[in-house]
Amino acid sequence: MRKPGSWFETELEQRGVSRREFVEFCGVMATALALPKVFGARIAEAVLKAEKPVIVWLEFQDCAGNTESFLRATKPTVADIVLDVLSVDYHETIMAAAGHQAEDVLAKTVKEKKGAYLAVVEGSIPTGANGAYCTIGGRSALQIAREVCGGAAATIAVGTCATFGGLPAASPNPTGALGVADAVPGLKNLVNLSACPMNPENLTALVVHYLTFKDLPALDGYRRPLFAYGKSIHDNCERRAHFDAGQYVEAWGDDGHRTGYCLYKMGCKGPVTFQNCPVVRWNDGTSWPIGCGHPCIGCAEPDFWDKMTPFYRHLPTIPGFRLGTPVDKVGLWASAGVAAAFATHGLISLVQRARTGSVKDEHIPPPPPEDEPEKPGSPEKGASS
């Protein structure tokens, strides 16, 4: 028998990664997971000793966007290794085998690694037409999901389709599409990484956490890791100071737009969307949607295709918004989607304060109270780590 960890160290060596660099990476991961730095050593130890964990990646009503996102994992570079050293036994988009030989791989893994493999699910699961809206090898997505997720050590739903039903489940949900939690109720150890697509750095961090602690990280009410979904986009936004100062983009390409003013008036859903986009950013930290000038569309939240649309209509008055601009035609938007999002994150009191006395006038919240929770010019933690 080989010594535990030796294969991993060989991998590191062959990748030209020193042990010191690897430990540094683990420190960064510890930070991403909001753990004290001292955990870096523990993560390094755990990952180095781990047997190569088996991943089964299922694609149902999907666009392969999360698969593509997974292929973009870059930061830190050594994160590749952590993903690379997973044994991705089944993943239709990348695997060499096809047809029966691919099905055999899946059947073998599910049987021989029962209770030990990780299932990753991408895409929603249709329940209409007896499952005929999505079949693989003649079996329905639901049949496959029940079997594969049911035998997994943990299931990670990646992207908003797999977590909440996403686009196929948008009104009128023609195929009866559901997220994993609803399609296969009662799954133990289910983690949701919502967003469209999920950010690959969050998948890396989740897997590292799992390998280190043999357990799942702390989750929010939607079973999303708090390390990635614990704060709103708005709270971490680099344009937050402009929001607080009342500086807004008024038209596409205007001076404010070029300067990087707040996109609230152009429809930004950052205040009601919880994800670490502004901190982790995308594609090796290159940029992110607000950073490149487009409002957040709220893609990490349940039912965002229905609750966050029209995308270019701005949110009703929210806490901290001081211009007093009357916001009409808001409809039920705020009371449904927004309140749910805030409630989940323990911010219901803010919403309640904002909504006091507003029910009669078409759900338009009044101006915020004087004692704002956020002070201008005091950026939240995390932005600089």
Binding site: Q61, G65, E68, C134, G138, W252, R258, D284, C292, G293
Partner: protein
Amino acid sequence: MTHIVVDPVTRIEGHLRIEAEVDGGRVTDAWSSATMFRGIELILKGRDPRDAWAFTQRICGVCTTVHAIASIRAVENAIGAQPPQNARLLRNLIMAYQCVQDHVIHFYHLHALDWVDVVSALSADPAKTSALAESISDWPLSGTKYFAGVKGRLKTFVERGQLGPFANAYWGHPAYLLPPEANLMAVAHYLEALDWQRDVIRAHAILGGKNPHLQSFLVGGMATPIDLDRQASINDGSIEELRQLAAKAKDFVSKVYIPDLLAVASFYKAWAGVGGGVGNYLVYGDYPEDDGPNPPLFLPSGVLRNKDLSKVEKFDAAKITEHVKHSWYDYSSGDDKGIHPSQGETKPNYTGPTPPYEKLDGTAKYSWLKAPRYDGLPMEVGPLSRMLVAYASGHTRVKELVGDVLKKLGVGPEALFSTLGRVAARGIETLLLTEKIEGWIDQLAVNMHRRQLKIHDNSKWEPSTWPKEAMGVGFHEAPRGALGHWVHIVDGAIANYQCVVPSTWNAGPRDAQGRRGPYEEALLNTPVADPTKPIEILRTIHSFDPCIACGVHVVDARRNLLAKVRAV
């Protein structure tokens, strides 16, 4: 006679099932079936047309820009918005980076394993591999030590017994013809391409905030401000980074992808006689070189019939129809006739077997794809069609590049109508676009220096400026071929939306007249040495670069419906 089922067809986007009859070692008939349906066009009804790009973009996360582009073009066409020059340049850049990155991923990560035997690479001599690599390219990563390192890494991987995505494939199949050294070189480049694609596509993060699913599209322009001196805009620094990424793309494509393609193809020349398909080629054309309606296009539009390169017909959008005779939909006027997309309708009606099932009935309905036809004929779309139409139209650079490749392989133009031809055309197009990107960056930079910073036509942003009712169409040449979106807007909301998509053209089933679709036709006469390991079928199917999630859609054309933008 053996009946073969390949399901899942892997290394593609989406869910594709191929059934084929094999007799005497050859495919005698074939059926292409898409087995997933979402109903995105139904979901679009009643929504704000300015949001549509984000919805349609999610049709596909691999070709993540294409449905966004087609959508904003369709809505702009309907409401009369005119994107300014900078928006055209930004879009051309986004499209070109997409196509280049996507084609390289296809070659190395989705198609190569049909031609490259990973296990054989273990018996390669690193010194000979180095000599081979240096004989075909001056790419610097070519030393003996480098290839010994790759081989060692592969060896560790195999010896550990956890083959991951390489498990249970067709390794050792007699259809693999490359010597071990060529296999090792290709495996090394498979790994390099993984890193390369991650880096090059950062151009999309600069231009669109993230990839996949860029988020900078707007009806009427783009949301990415440009200003040399502002940190929150595409500025001097971003221009320089875009240039570097373009150079990196061109370097890898010209020094790794193209030499590899030629080296691999030289062992598989027999595949220039396989997989010809329907022989009709359709191109909408793309990459506008000027602003305004009907601009000149860098890749020209046109139609070729019966593999005849002497006559390029003008493309006429009125000649497009879609059939559902063998698709799981019903038409109210009956299934015996095709319908134009602008009149299209949908009633999904699954009549196939209840899952789990073993076999589909090819004489009945058997796919979630419709069968598009042009002037009643099945058409192949994609890089091969584009290169053929450009070649036949006298496109100077395309003629040079095609001539060069044919000469190096020692084959004539007839070799292009094949599985190998598709592979070669994709490479040629990639090189062509890498040569083009820098010019568009330059034009953008010049505009920025002149302080011409307009990125959006604000005059048509508000729905109050739109006509009460409007129809629009947006065409785009996606990496996988001709893409069209049709939109019908009533009272500021989507009354009807339809996409006719490259993989619907290529992967669609039979039509009302029983004519096979391009995949099905291309599979005829494909040799199959071992029906239990039909690698040859994968070679031809993969040569089209299937993208099935794109192909599956619905239309609903209750044209008089006055839908309202939803209030919630």
